[in-house]
């Protein structure tokens, strides 16, 4: 009966695809002709901390030569606008403002060599689409988000909770919203595996409560009477039809969530004030707190984003340094706290926390050297004149930083390397989006070559099934 009851480590053959959206070629079915043996999962939950807008590695996790602000300094001399700091791990240095994460990086791994595609012209949402689905748009089919892949293949961790929860991104009323919607989706897997969107962490509880203004008693009564009407509904033999049957089942599932004890995990007001305050650096910080609560309740995949809004937050086209000082304040404490709390609760071992972004930034280079990407800095200058010139205002795809904590990954581990001088390209162990996804999938017990039959052709979890997990990142084998 249970749709999610996939045998995870066995050969998967001929799974039926109930509850899936039918698309042009019929509902996607897991392909069986070429059996894929899933790896043993080292994590049951994945939390993706998304640094939306392109977080500059040289001003965060990959410090380079520091150049303080001085009027008249030629901008080409600038690599990092923050001084380097030590972390608890000898060979890992961060930039100033990330002291708290620096204290917990002995629980995690840092990849400095994440190389994303240069798409010839920068459009944030397009690179974000690529990162989140593993495929560069446009595509001939609606590609599922990585969270949907995990939801589809692993199913919910706790059947009451939606398997893919998306925290912090508004999809209405901000720039590039249509482009964001294009990848914030279950795609060909259908909405059963699509995101459960919680743009405001403090309002998350409303998403699992009776509608505004309805008392719990009234809600219960409404459900009871509805059930009576349903029972009496003269549908006859049509009740056995799959449309009918799945509708009743989904309505039951929804009601179950709205009445389950897990509901409380959405409610930040249940958190002690001192803990709430520790996380409360803003929406992102509270998103981390919500992610922790949901992980405790048994969520499968959670994304927490700093939120993508064109030209805001990490998307610095001017005044980068000042903005980064603020952004680091916003993320540093809650991320470190999240790691510590998960560890203290014994959850970190089976929870993979990934921090990533669509690309890095640089003072001078758009894309990579030789790219056709046009200059998008809003504060171009030959020499520093005022603070707005000071920051990494161009989008750089040649290297970037990713953090991974828990879920079977190595601790206090540094992977990959970038050049000391511009261009700050990856010099060792490049990790593509494909391979990074394969690594995440591997931890989650999903083979990178897992394929579904979409319109009669195989559609793979990683592009063309070619992602290769970075084995060195795993603690064991």
């Amino acid at each position: 009966m249970n749709n999610y009851n996939l045998s995870r480590r066995d050969f998967l053959r001929g799974m039926s695809a109930a509850s899936l959206a039918t698309i042009a070629g019929g509902p996607p079915r897991l392909l069986s002709a070429e059996p894929v043996k899933h790896p043993a999962a080292t994590a049951d939950t994945c939390i993706l901390l998304w640094m939306a807008g392109g977080m500059a590695a040289p001003d965060t996790f990959d410090p380079k030569r520091y150049q303080p602000f001085e009027v008249g300094v030629p901008v080409e001399k600038i690599l990092s606008t923050f001084p380097t700091i030590d972390t608890v791990v000898d060979n890992i240095k961060f930039t100033e403002g990330l002291e708290n994460i620096g204290k917990v990086i002995d629980r995690g791994a840092l990849i400095r060599s994440h190389v994303v595609a240069d798409l010839g012209n920068i459009l944030h949402s397009r690179h974000q689409y690529h990162w989140h689905t593993g495929y560069v748009p446009p595509q001939t089919v609606a590609c599922p988000h990585i969270g949907s892949w995990i939801a589809r293949v692993r199913g919910p961790n706790n059947p009451v909770l939606p398997p893919f929860i998306n925290i912090g991104q508004r999809l209405e009323g901000n720039g590039e919203q249509e482009e964001l919607k294009a990848f914030t989706t279950g795609g060909f897997f259908g909405t059963e595996f699509g995101p459960f969107n919680l743009p405001f962490p403090t309002d998350a509880a409303d998403a699992v409560r009776p509608p505004k203004g309805m008392t719990p008693e009234r809600f219960k009564e409404r459900q009871a009477k509805y059930q009576e009407l349903l029972k009496r509904s003269p549908v006859g033999e049509l009740a056995s039809d799959h449309h009918h049957e799945s509708m009743v089942r989904s309505i039951d599932n929804a009601y179950r969530l709205l009445n389950a004890k897990e509901r409380d995990s959405f409610d930040l007001s249940k958190e002690p004030k001192e803990v709430f305050d520790k996380y409360n650096t803003g929406r992102f910080g509270l998103g981390c707190l919500l992610a922790r609560r949901l992980t405790e309740a048994g969520a499968r995949f959670i994304e927490v984003t700093t939120e993508y809004v064109p030209f805001l937050h990490w998307d610095t086209h001017e005044n980068g340094h000042t903005t980064y000082a603020r952004m680091k304040k916003e993320i540093d404490r809650p991320i470190a706290q999240l790691i510590l709390d998960l560890e203290q609760r014994g959850l970190l071992d089976r929870t993979l926390v990934v921090l990533a972004t669509e690309f890095s930034r640089d003072m001078m280079i758009e894309g990579i050297p030789g790219s056709t990407a046009r200059d998008q800095s809003r504060a171009p200058a030959q020499k520093l004149g005022e603070m707005k010139h000071y920051g990494l205002h161009r989008h750089f795809t040649g290297s970037g930083s990713v953090l991974m904590f828990g879920g079977g990954t190595k601790k206090g581990f540094l992977y990959g390397e970038t050049a000391a001088e511009r261009p700050l390209l990856t010099t060792k162990n490049p990790v593509s989006i494909k391979d990074l996804h394969a690594t995440i999938f591997q931890a989650m017990g999903i083979h990178a070559r897992t394929a579904f039959d979409v319109e009669k052709r195989p559609f793979y979890a990683t592009e063309d099934g070619k992602g290769v997990p970075v084995k060195e990142l795993f603690a064991k084998g």
């Binding site: 042009a24 894929v36 609606a142 509904s233 049509l238 449309h243 509708m247 929804a254 056709t372 052709r457």
Partner: protein, 632 residues
């Protein structure tokens, strides 16, 4: 049981090769197939098996030619590298290059990975291009032609003819199918007691004649098919264009389908948005440039032909080739189009080619406008049976819940009745491509007007047996329209950029509202399955998902709408008793009166003295019933 277990165990042992290790570079589709095709396929695949060696499937090659993981021990490698004239393969002609041998060895060493489902054996069924006019089984009997074919089909398979649908269910179904909304109470009470024998036919004609209601409803299908949306990706930097005004007018005018498609393929500025595709900023994969989007969309929408594979390499799932996709793409290309195979240039330039070359050619040297004109002509030629069959099948699918060919985009597959599909296609052509005529023809058949059959589980196409119409789920727009109509909460103004005429004189007041198809998608509609329309969409989700159910259970949009609706109802009938309100809602939502026990339950929701909350809860409980959300 033990035997079965043993088999599974043995299979596990036999193929350790596809274990956790990811592929190390050799790709079956892109690296191996071309070599096998060039050097081996002629003698060892698709019916020709020299030396009784078949290479059609992975299982076949493992029988004789190779040992997974052991290239050096594999007969194939020995033979292709042998210098012995009796041993060598291929026996004559060009040998494999060293590089090709390396690829094959690596492939074998990596375990002989195979594209799931791929076989060199050609499918046995070949969909014909030419139109065909099947003979009516009983040309002299006064039986609806569709039913003559269906009855013959039933008789052949000893299937009991489904019973005729009762009037109340019929009227709900036909309203939703033809104009997308529920009948009003006045329309119900005019239709149900009517005893005239032609009343169903008359109703069908009247619905199809309601130009605005028809256009408002079918706009959803065509927006999906033609990838047209009022907001969406691509508009942000001018890489996309709407065709809303043109499309809406075409539907209002019931433009003949051949003219309609000619105007899309060889467009005016008003209709060019479809062929222009969506252009993203920056570089895209060679198979996704706008020219190939054009080829894919033309292929999918008008011919149910999937050129998505063939845009990258010769398709493995059907007979479309890279040259077919590029040949079509070249028609719209402004400059010579370099053919890319798997995103790498092949050094060749695309030559214009129509998908069905037997119908004619397109002069590559003609100007682009002329080429498009010629393509439009070939596409819509009466000799192009595939064109008429594809749309006839789509309409049949919409009305009957299941295609004659299903899924509807795989028109190369065998229909469950060739005769019926070919008949419908020629009927459409004979009637000057009048889609309303086709809809009228289908909906006046006994096949359409029979009871729905329950399908417990969808079955693969080749196992499908037609037993009667299937249940359909309300589309997002139909659901929202039904709620708006029931509660009087529709938006005041349309957002679609089209010239929308006033309602026809005979339109009942309750149906005079702005339909969901005419406004931007809100989160509720999106949740219920109105697509983003970045890709062509031809079928909506058939099942309600948990997240959708959650949106319906506690989402603010529906909750607020129902509360406003309750206020509207109470304002309109301030003196109504609870039972009167229940009856009012049941008739409008379900097209019937509540049974006694339903009345008791529903009465409990409303309360002795009706309140806004009580009525809102009644509305919710009714619109959540499968009886409401499904078309039976």
């Amino acid at each position: 049981m033990p035997v079965r277990l043993l088999v599974i165990f043995a299979a596990t042992i036999a193929f350790p090769v596809v274990a956790a290790d990811p592929p190390k570079g050799v790709d079956f589709a892109h690296d191996v197939v071309p070599i096998l095709k060039t050097h081996c396929a002629k003698c060892h695949t698709n019916g020709t098996y020299k030396g009784s060696l078949s290479m059609d499937t992975r299982a076949d090659v493992l029988k004789k030619a190779m040992v997974p993981g052991k290239a050096a021990m594999s007969a194939m490698i020995k033979r292709v590298t042998s210098t012995d004239a009796d041993e060598r393969m291929p026996p004559e002609g060009k040998r494999l290059t060293e590089k090709e041998v390396q690829v094959l060895m690596k492939w074998i060493d990596e375990g002989v990975t195979w594209e799931p489902g791929f076989s060199f054996k050609a499918k046995t069924y070949i969909a014909s291009v030419k139109p065909r006019r099947p003979k009516l089984p009983h040309p002299n009997e006064p039986v609806h032609p569709i039913d003559q074919f269906v009855d013959a089909y039933f008789a052949d398979r000893k299937i009991t003819t489904p019973a005729r649908l009762e009037d109340d269910a019929f009227v709900r179904r036909v309203y939703l199918d033809l104009i997308g909304v529920l009948p009003t109470q006045s329309e119900l009470s005019a239709f149900l007691p009517d005893s005239a024998p032609g009343k169903r036919d008359n109703l069908i004609r009247r619905l199809l004649d309601d130009k605005r209601a028809y256009a408002d409803h079918w706009l959803a299908l065509w927006n999906d098919l033609l990838r047209n949306e009022y907001k969406g990706t691509g508009y942000i930097d001018g890489g996309r264009k709407q065709i809303t005004a043109w499309l809406y007018k075409s539907l209002l005018d019931n433009k003949p389908y051949d003219v309609f498609v000619r105007e899309l393929v060889s467009p005016t500025p008003d209709s060019e948005g479809f062929v222009k595709g969506i252009k993203w900023r920056g570089e895209v994969n060679a198979s996704q440039v706008v020219e190939l989007q054009f080829a894919q969309n033309i292929g999918q929408v008008f011919f149910g032909a999937n050129l998505k594979c063939a845009s990258c390499h010769d398709s493995f799932i059907d007979h479309w080739k890279l040259d077919d996709a590029y040949g079509l793409a070249a028609v719209i290309a402004d400059k010579p189009l370099a053919i890319h195979r798997c995103d790498k240039p092949t050094g060749k330039t695309a030559a214009t080619k129509f998908l069905f070359p037997e119908l004619g050619t397109i002069d590559p040297n003609a100007a682009k406008a002329k080429r498009l004109e010629r393509l439009a002509e070939l596409t819509t030629s009466p000799e192009n049976g595939r064109f008429a069959r594809t749309i006839a099948n789509r309409i049949w699918h919409r009305l009957m819940g299941h295609g004659l060919v299903h899924p509807v985009d795989l028109m190369g597959d065998k229909p469950w009745s060739d005769d019926l599909l070919d008949y419908l296609a020629t009927y459409l052509v004979d009637n000057k491509y009048d889609l309303k005529k086709l809809m009228e023809h289908i909906t006046t058949s006994a096949a359409y007007q029979s009871k729905a059959v329950a399908i417990a589980k969808e079955v693969p196409n080749d196992e499908y047996v037609f037993r009667g119409p299937e249940i359909k789920r309300l589309t997002a727009e139909q659901f929202v329209d039904a709620v708006w109509m029931l509660t009087g909460t529709a938006p005041a103004k349309p957002q679609a950029a089209a010239a929308i005429p006033p309602f026809g004189g005979a339109t009942p007041k309750e149906r005079q509202f702005v339909r969901a198809t005419l406004v931007d998608a809100d989160p509720l509609m999106r949740s219920l399955g109105r697509p983003n329309r970045e890709q062509v969409v031809t079928v909506r989700p058939e099942q309600l998902s948990t997240l959708q159910a959650l949106d319906l259970a506690n989402g603010q949009i529906l909750a607020a709408t129902l509360t406003r609706g309750a206020e509207n109802l109470l304002k309109a009938s301030p003196k109504a008793s609870a039972d009167e309100l229940v009856e009012h809602v049941f008739i409008r939502a379900l097209g019937r009166k509540p049974a006694a026990d339903e009345l008791v339950a529903a009465h409990g929701l409303v309360g002795e003295k009706p309140t806004t909350d009580g009525v809102a809860d009644l509305l919710w409980s009714v619109v959540m019933l499968p009886e409401f959300q499904l078309v039976r």
